[in-house]
């Protein structure tokens, strides 16, 4: 069992105290600290994740760009971005680029990739200072959760009005809407054969959202799972 303490790291989830109270064991992962498990084996937590699991991905990198030329500039940086809004596009390095509108993209780094797509773009942005393209830093302002498992759509139906059933909401689809009465972004990004949804929202509401999801999870025996379970999916 890891004795890693999140308070020794600068990049950690803003509600790490709640996670500690849940029995989380933390692990160092490159420059961040994240939940490895909640006292169970990776295999057991992977089984849980296939039913209904909640993962805190907040320590991982994300960023965004907004403005009339934001999409054009992102494309010149080699990103593959299609023409449809509210659609996420997978990159060759595993990063996910969410086209939120004609004037905004959200970049989600691949949580297990060696390459940090967000830092690459931030460096280029600082060098080039492209016109009509404005950086939208999200590492500290947006929290990032993932809800996994076959009951995730039924769970979401309790807190969100959008039809997220798998047949109506294909992989890669985005909904920007109200979730548990706060604004957020839902992106479907399945983990192999396990349905999975990213949830991005205001980081000031991290504890609130966590408690809402835990409450909605009870009906389906859902539970938080650590990062180690994800590699078993």
């Amino acid at each position: 069992m890891s004795q890693t303490s999140p308070s020794h790291f600068l990049i950690r989830s803003p509600h790490y105290r709640t996670l500690l109270a849940e029995g989380a064991n933390f692990i160092e992962h490159r420059d961040v600290v994240l939940v490895d498990n909640y006292g169970n084996s990776a295999e057991d937590e992977a089984l849980q994740a296939q039913q209904l699991g909640l993962v805190d991905l907040t320590p991982f990198a994300r960023s965004g760009y907004k403005g009339k030329q934001a999409i054009h500039w992102a494309k010149t940086q080699g990103l593959n971005i299609g023409a449809s809004n509210n659609q996420a596009y997978l990159q060759s390095n595993g990063a996910l680029v969410a086209r939120l509108s004609d004037t905004e993209v959200l970049i989600l780094n691949n949580i297990h990739s060696e390459q940090n797509q967000c830092i690459l773009l931030e460096d280029e942005y600082a060098k080039n200072k492209p016109a009509q393209c404005y950086s939208v830093p999200r590492n500290n302002s947006s929290a990032w959760f993932m809800i996994t498992g076959k009951f995730s759509t039924e769970m979401f139906a309790k807190i969100c009005g959008i039809d997220l059933r798998l047949k109506s909401f294909p992989n890669g689809t985005i909904a920007q809407t109200s979730i548990a009465r706060i604004n957020g972004i839902i992106i479907r990004n399945d983990m192999n054969n396990t349905p999975a949804f990213y949830l991005i929202f205001d980081s000031a509401s991290t504890d609130y959202m966590w408690s809402c999801l835990k409450d909605a999870f009870v009906e389906f025996q859902g539970a938080p799972v650590g990062d180690s379970a994800l590699s078993k999916l």
Partner: protein, 91 residues
């Protein structure tokens, strides 16, 4: 529950939106008296019938135009603002 069709996000619960009032042409502030500018800023036409209004989808901060009948509260049409605002307004 009322549903409003956002041009960017599709049908959404009306509680996700904020109405920001009638669409009006902005006069040149350098050619107006203070009284005329205050009239533009603060006074509403309050038309009974079909009006064009600014609405914003709060979850995305997306502003768009709604054509609404203020007598029946029926929403006739929604569309992106760039359908009527083709150029940047300089002043």
């Amino acid at each position: 529950m009322k549903i409003l069709n956002c041009p960017l996000n599709g049908p959404r619960n009306i509680s996700e939106f904020i109405c920001f009032g009638e669409v009006t042409d902005m006069p040149n502030p350098n050619e107006l008296s203070d009284e005329q500018w205050a009239d533009y800023m603060w006074m509403s036409n309050n038309t009974a019938g079909v009006v064009r209004e600014w609405w914003c989808h709060a979850a995305t901060s997306y502003w768009f135009i709604v054509e609404r009948n203020t007598i029946t509260d029926e929403i006739l049409k929604t569309y992106p603002a760039n359908e009527i605002f083709k150029e940047r307004v300089e002043f």
